[in-house]
Symmetry: D3
Subunit: 293 residues, 6 copies
């Protein structure tokens, strides 16, 4: 169950409206790595978790916080939009390019669809989609997904920080940056703990019997490009991070195998299967059958 309290975790009040910036801020609300994504992602991971205890509590605890971040950003965006100009005609634009430029930089749906309200979309107006969510049931994979989400998220907030000089907005962003710092650290710690406790290990999924994979290809760097610098990396020689092999650099990928012959599906699918020559001949009896059917 979720309970709502009519407070915000941190102040979310701009010094002044800025409809152009409001559009940009949508990215960390409704974009691929925005707050809706992490709120839903941690939610589904917790509801699908297969073991009770600290890992699931971690997901529950942070998931609800992220719903509050959705609210803080929506509140901030609505205020940034409070004085949004409604738009001007093209004629008027030529008289006042400054206003025209502002109009050009705003999201038209903020005014037309939401009446100066926040929307569940990214900075290009793409609606949020569950395509962004990862919840596999394997916690080592999912915590790595979560670490990535917090890295991408903090990176975007940092970029947004440089795009405004509004002290109120920056105050909120500095708080979000700190929470993303925490969450990056936490998911990395949690992933490490899964391995230290022997609950999960590399390669994911560690419960799949290694004997069933093609072990000869398990630690080879196969270079399908013509640069050689990748041979200098720690992924080209030495012990592998899963502790189960040695990296090997293969400058030239081994020869492949011949592709199997093309398929010949049912003639009633009307694919192009005939060899050069009249189609009647190529199809023969099958074609006759078509006519009788």
């Amino acid at each position: 169950m979720f309970f709502h309290r009519q407070e915000l975790q941190h102040a979310a009040k701009p010094d002044k409206p800025d409809a152009v910036y409001a559009r940009k801020l949508q990215e960390v609300l409704g974009g691929q790595y925005g707050e809706i994504t992490v709120a839903m992602q941690y939610g589904f991971q917790s509801w699908n978790a297969h073991l009770p205890g600290k890992y699931r509590d971690l997901l529950y605890g942070i998931g609800a916080e992220e719903m509050g971040h959705v609210e803080m950003l929506a509140t901030m965006i609505a205020q940034l939009l409070e004085k949004a100009p409604l738009g001007v005609t093209e004629g008027a634009m030529q008289d006042d390019p400054a206003v025209a430029a502002i109009i050009g930089g705003t999201d038209p749906q903020h005014a037309i669809v939401a009446g100066a309200g926040a929307r569940p979309v990214d900075s290009n107006g793409n609606p949020w989609t569950a395509d962004y969510v990862t919840a596999s049931g394997n916690l080592l994979a999912d915590f790595t997904a979560n670490a990535n989400a917090e890295m991408q998220g903090r990176l975007q907030v940092a970029r947004l920080y440089h795009m405004t000089d509004d002290a109120g907005v920056r105050d909120l962003l500095s708080f979000l940056l700190a929470r993303d710092t925490m969450h990056q650290n936490q998911w990395i710690a949690a992933a490490r703990e899964l391995r230290e406790e022997g609950v999960e290990d590399l390669p994911v999924p560690s419960t799949f019997p290694l004997g069933k994979e093609d072990r000869e290809a398990s630690y080879q760097y196969l270079n399908f490009s013509d640069g050689q610098a990748a041979s200098e990396g720690s992924w080209a020689s030495g012990r592998t991070p899963d502790g189960k092999g040695e990296f090997e650099y293969v400058a030239e990928p081994p020869a492949g195998v011949p592709a199997p012959p093309p398929t010949k599906p049912d003639v009633r699918l009307h694919g192009t299967t005939g060899m050069p020559g009249p189609v009647e001949k190529a199809m023969g009896t099958a074609q006759d059958a078509l006519h009788k059917e």
Copy 2:
């Protein structure tokens, strides 16, 4: 530039057709973590890379391999579909539930749209979308995204391995499992190397001045759920993975701040802004202006 060779990296030939399994295999071809995703993801990361050398060569080298995996899976799927039944009427289903069941488990677009060919979609027929791609320009974030993609990908291949007993299919999957093992290890090694060389560090982005974030909130576990087990984890006390702080467990989130007052945008957006009472009064002069405009 890309060059194509008419060979496959590994054999991709099923022992026998299986249209139901073909649908499932689409997941690792055209799904969120399928081969199209990693091919495009490593491609865009390499084309946008800001520094030449080993990291970019790594992206180039693996990116092209993944395009070959797209081809291997497409080839496999086309063969699995080679004898796909065209479908039967509902009446016929009642006579032969076995065939009916097969039809029910297939992707109808495999026959109707592709004529027994592979498609750039997932196992539910959702078209592949670039929403799945991550390429931020920050390599530590992106290599973490890549490690996750390979984990999710290998997890899905492992699950698919248990869903067939076709030796030819399993032979291909055992090869793909091995390559995913390699790629998991490689991205983890590469992310570690970025940190060891001082090119990037935690928290991402490490070039953002920490003094500008709200450091008091940077290492606090704020528990927005009512379970307490998360306090036992390594994310609740001790040194943080970024080496810059100490985790702190906060069982009860601090009190929030009052939400700002609701916004009052331009009356011409016709939002509901009036207090209870006749709307004419609430709107006053603004409303008059509407009429004159």
Copy 3:
């Protein structure tokens, strides 16, 4: 701020697993009118609300409840999936059509992607999208949208009720049906109250000056089909629900106006603008300019 409590609002425990039904139940979790939709819809309406007090509190109060419904359904679906078969080969299907039929009726991503977990998708596996959300800032319009959402939602739950005989599932559905009954009544009452208090009125938006619309066309039923039965309805004569006019039935739509002549945009857009005859002639000087540019 949102707080999570590790309880469910109502029991959500099936008598036995049923992976086929789990797929169907996804509709009311992640479909167009599923619980994610109403949770997000009421959330955005509340964060964008322009007036404090009872209407906003109503949105806050129900919005948080709906997040708990998301959780209940996800929990139920995970249990329905607990014994989901992993799939069988097409060969095996012919031996046991019953198992084959079950496989055919399941969502393959439940197993491959989520490892027997719930997903933020509908019963066809389409990912949830913010395209489903409505939040305009005008409460009379939005409460009507909410009433519709609860009607469609209850209708779908009712249909799902007849598709199972599992007592545990039906117990949860009977609770959800009741809550949807409440929410239908509540939004209808709230919409009525907006009008009775004079905060909003019909037609929406009531703050737009009626004198600026083409009042001659405001209450005419224009029949663009050739049936005449619509003339018998209460929308064809009598007082209009907005209390501002009389319905009029117009059996034959008035003659239209000639369409404006086709546009002739810039030749550099290379549209087909020439009249029959050599293109060089038709383009004349403009074409010359193209060559010089």
Copy 4:
């Protein structure tokens, strides 16, 4: 069958081109509540209708009108785009910010993709999607959806009216506002008539036996937020609009029930199911089976 007549229902001719406004006007052509949505929505409702007569004739009659509105708006947009500037280089922008501002406010696909033509997209360039359509087969639910669509649509047209001073555009908008006024009234009248005739009733679907829903929860306002103002509304006490109960205000939601224990699906799905301790032990025999399989 549909027949086309080469006339428009109303004049659709701007006084002068305005490519920036053309982009905005796309919202009511190809957006969530644009004319394509209502044309398709009324169409599918009519084709799926289960009873002949006045309700279906109403859907037929208005559905065809809306297709004509699609045409009027497309015609208007093409004319607004007739003199659209092709774009300038960034250098040129600095010389003439007025032109630059116009370019910035236009939809680049209007020029690049459509050659100064209208497109089936919204004001942010999102392609129209059938996600916007509602057609459930239950007329009371669907007519409520239709009333909402006409409210949202008229609201957006009203906002757009204030964003231009072009008399030709405003003339068309004043006609569309009038038609939306009619359609709002009509769907409200039709929904009321369904109830008065006893064809449908509240709660939707009224044919579901109320005895099968959890009637104790059917009329309770459960407040999951901490504001109390919602208790003042007509949804918190008194007779319910469906005439079958009394609203009850519950300031504190009842205690929930414990969540069921986490699921333990098949080990071959490789979810994280082991308790802390070596994974081999946790998995036991099941794990052995994996190796043998």
Copy 5:
């Protein structure tokens, strides 16, 4: 303007219901090349047309017919769904695999969402999207798109013909096949006429001055794969279809040019730009600036 007549262009009545087939038939109603696509495509091409007369009349005339085809298919699908089973529990499935198989082969949204009605989706339940529409303003390009759409459409109808033995369904399909035959021929004829009249020519757009393209590369077959059979085709030697050059076969693509050096964007975007070595050094003054900002 569009007018609706309550008749169908051709009979659309199945001999008996078949919910499994109904799902498949959705492909040609709401799929990539279904009737909604051509109705909308010809509509937008006509509304955006730049010249009056026979070409535009052709688009008007066929566009309206296609809307009628949408209606015929929707009507047919609703009848095929008339006796759709509501679904059975997994337990029941084991008793009656025939019914279970039917359930597995149906679209669950047909029952849950539409109450046994047609939907604007394809055979996998993907909602129709305007991504399928092409309308560029260049008639030679667009008529080629139309010819392709009619080819793909007729191909799909032909495949569907073999998937049923219902005489009523086949009767409708034989009519649709005939209309697609007509429309293929017509668009090919119209494209040819555009060229013969000199209104358009190859290569599209013919109004772009050829002197501005890199003519050395205009007729070369560059073989980026390692097969040589393509050298035997009419695209490898001889006069080109545009009548302006000679095909040339180039077995080995010419050497490329070195890629430009990686970009170094603003440090405030926090991309990975530093060479190996401490990031402080690499960033130097820029980094200092970050701290001061």
Copy 6:
């Protein structure tokens, strides 16, 4: 297998950065007819091809070239973005409208998401989707799709050519224009060769027995609009391009057939099926059954 070489097929270096143009250029990288589309389209067509030899080699040879075009455009876009301004506040905009106008014309995700890198999206920021891909297994249909794709693609490049005066950009575009000229010619030649060799013929699919289509309707122009100019075209009289019939102009479509009666599905779907009158009566026994169930 695909191999990457660290060179570009043609120079891709702008004279100077231009972030506004970078956004526009995304159209031909990640739009409906951008390079990702053709690379994937030719790839899937080749992998699904049913006959070896020249046609498949053609697909392989061009498909790999297009992947290189994706790379060239991504490289170009990254350079155009190299000096992209980060954005300014609304206040600053009023001081420098020129900079403001530039910001307004850029894609905000270029900076926030990609850190000045190219993205797999179109010029409106819509993510690339496999909805754009056509691969049916019928080569005559697919080559027509390919011809269209190259026409639309060259048209868009031509339009983009006029939107910049950067010599470096124009140099790349003149190369792409030439390659599109080649590819248009090649697909047209290949489609013609399929017919000349008797492998495929019109109407597609030519292997479907014509006797099974409704031949009376195969060559009739049915005019569903009220213009008569289409009667003048070569599609209204004379031999049809498939060589199998004569066009016939039908100014008035033949009368239709009555629509079948509305469907009456299972009452448990709760559609509106009752005639006016109390619902209890209309439903009768069925309704009773609902209560007992």
